[in-house]
């Protein structure tokens, strides 16, 4: 399914909370804006 764009979360806690019981892993992207 095409989502159009990645739905990035903004905190690790939010991502971990959402992942509970879903079988989905948390992908952390640490970046610096160019």
């Amino acid at each position: 399914m095409m989502t159009g764009q990645i739905n990035w979360r903004t905190t690790q806690a939010e991502a971990l909370g959402e992942s509970q019981g879903t079988g989905r892993l948390v992908l952390v992207d640490i970046y610096s804006p160019t």
Binding site: R9, D29, Y31
Partner: protein, 148 residues
């Protein structure tokens, strides 16, 4: 990554299907570098739902390389979580997603053999699988790791 890799349709679909993604800006939040123990960007870390890191990658990845990297991350985390049947299924998928990736395809075959061994308890599946790594990718680092 933001200009080419993340807008890619295959990347969007793969991340959307299998991950909860979080983006952390080290300029706005410099404590992120300390917390995740990194001094370089981009750094990608894949965690299980307990927050335990199973895979880390530093440096730019194109769309195909990122999907390949994430496919191996899923295998490794299933292995680390001792869900071996799941790991074996993901490892088969990883063989497809790493095809032609000189760095990751040999690694995918390596971990596929490990998953097969863990799922079955049959040591021959490990040695047979690692023989494939050695035969198909003799110059790879993973062939050396398999050649015991």
């Amino acid at each position: 990554m933001g200009a080419v890799t993340y807008p890619n349709a295959s990347v969007i679909d793969y991340i959307g299907a299998h991950f909860i993604p979080v983006k952390l800006n080290v300029v706005d939040r410099p404590e992120v570098k300390t917390y995740f123990y990194t001094d370089w960007t981009p750094t990608i870390i894949v965690q299980n739902e307990a927050g335990r890191a199973g895979r880390r990658s530093e440096g730019y990845l194109g769309p195909r390389e990122l999907v390949a990297e994430l496919s191996i991350a899923r295998v490794k985390i299933a292995l680390n979580d001792r869900d071996y049947a799941k790991a074996l299924g993901l490892a088969d998928e990883s063989l497809e997603l790493t095809k032609g990736d000189g760095l990751r395809e040999p690694e995918a075959y390596y971990w596929r053999a490990v998953a097969d061994y863990r799922a079955s308890g049959d040591g021959k599946k490990l040695s047979d699988g690692w023989d494939v790594v050695i035969a198909k990718f003799p110059q790879s680092d993973w062939a050396k790791r398999a050649d015991i």
